[in-house]
Amino acid sequence: MIEKEYAYYAGCSLEGTASSYDRSIRVILKALGATLRETEDWSCCGSTPAHAMDHVLAGALAARNLAIVERMETATLTTPCPSCLSAFKKAHAKVTQDKAFSDEVNQLLDLPYKGGVKAKSTLQVIYEDVGPDAVTSKVTTVLPDLKAACYYGCILSRPPKLAAFDDPENPVSMDRLLAACGVDVRDFVFKTECCGAAFGVPKKEMVLRLTHKVLTMVQDCGANCVVVACPLCQQNLDLRQAQVNRAMGSSFSIPILYFSQVLGLAFGFQPEELGLDKHIVSADALIRSRRPKGAEDAAPPVKEKARKSTAQGTAGKPGDAPGAEGTASAAKEA
């Protein structure tokens, strides 16, 4: 069940380049009936650079925020950013399992972290606490032209022991949520392949090649847009698409959307309310054809087709997630 209240940690990216992610998350969570309580005076999670320098420093930067959340007495902390989530989960695991580490970290902190915070990505909250069925019930708008490749990025479900969410090799949570909105979801094989975003600035040539690979596979699976849950992936694929085209001689023009934006559109919100106007590669052409759900009789084949490909695209382990049984058994029969 969805909890009424979540502690919310937006993260630095969502204040900057990924403001549209932040905006769309807030819009849909409100629509789904959850209240987000801001983590007061939050600071940087520590993320990759700090981690590379020193585990204790990275742990302390993450734990500062966890300590704040701990005092908010909210059952769950949610952050849309997988990178922040990963930093929190790593810090939490080490603080709770390793006394020496915990002592070292708390020596750096003004306010000690005791280890009482449960963190979940916002995707996980929507997938597990809300569930695809509840999402379907909110859908008012169909998006017939969208052919989505769900791109999860490298750390949303990995390493499995830490992430404890979805399948590490073939995650399906976004696929199922989008399918619940009636979107045509493609079977995309590079769901977790790294796009290199972390090195966007210092190692551009490397990142462009990795990004090019991902976008090529997107095109191969017949998708016309990528749906992501990670601000770094979004920035990388969207912002650098022109750079990729220049460097690799390609001509991609693939909009990169946040899953929250797609859900928002399906719930009937306007593109501007979801920050779609901020993206470099415009999605206008793909979403122009959207229409109210009631009008679906006009083109029943679209809907049916969407369902069918969903079944193929999401044939994961049967019963591994709420609402999974329907699609999985359908796939088995097929």
């Binding site: 630095c12 939050w42 390493p159 790294c194 190692k203 650098r240």
Partner: protein, 182 residues
């Protein structure tokens, strides 16, 4: 090619050091190469991951810590996810980076510059301020035009004034204490 004298590390000092830093037991690695096979960065590395693991097993500390590979690893966790021996390989790479950082070995200057720009921004604002990082990085690295081609629409998304948080002193203190301790 040099001859490696394996007798130099009979006590497994390096492997022990890695174990203490990361908690990972590299003796479990049987060199199947899965990490190398799955790593999206292998093509950019000077040594593939499995060979870095082998260097730890054979005590080649210098070579491992001076490798570029450890800086180019993005902690994407593919290796850790698929390792049949349940070694958190990404964590081992992280541990190697930690040691290299402590010993001021920076084989990849640009990455170091980027990290430091990141840390400076963090110290100043308590949060990350993207435009400042890019600016600072460009200045320090000498690559003055990095990402200047992203165009005006991108630039529009970056805040020109950093948000300052009350807790920025907290964060600065964390970093200060950390620096003092080291």
């Amino acid at each position: 090619m040099e001859t490696i004298h394996l007798t130099g590390d009979t006590l497994n000092n390096f492997a022990t050091e890695i174990r203490q830093t990361t908690g990972e037991d590299t003796s479990r690695c049987y060199q199947c190469g899965n990490c190398t096979a799955g790593c999206p960065y292998t093509e950019f590395f000077d040594y593939p991951v499995s060979q870095i693991m082998r260097m730890i097993q054979t005590g080649q500390r210098e070579k491992a810590l001076n490798s570029r590979a450890i800086w180019l690893c993005a902690t994407c966790e593919t290796c850790s996810t698929r390792c049949p021996c349940e070694i958190d390989v990404a964590d081992v790479m992280d541990g190697l980076r930690n040691i290299a950082y402590r010993e001021k070995r920076f084989t990849e200057r640009d990455i170091r510059t980027f990290y430091e720009a990141f840390l400076t921004s963090l110290k100043h604002h308590g949060r990350i301020f993207e435009l400042e990082i890019i600016a600072r990085y460009n200045l320090k690295s000498g690559h003055l035009l990095t990402d200047a081609d992203l165009g005006p629409k991108v630039m529009k998304q970056l805040h020109f004034l950093p948000k300052r948080i009350k807790g920025r002193d907290d964060v600065a203190r964390i970093i200060k204490r950390f620096m003092e301790k080291k």
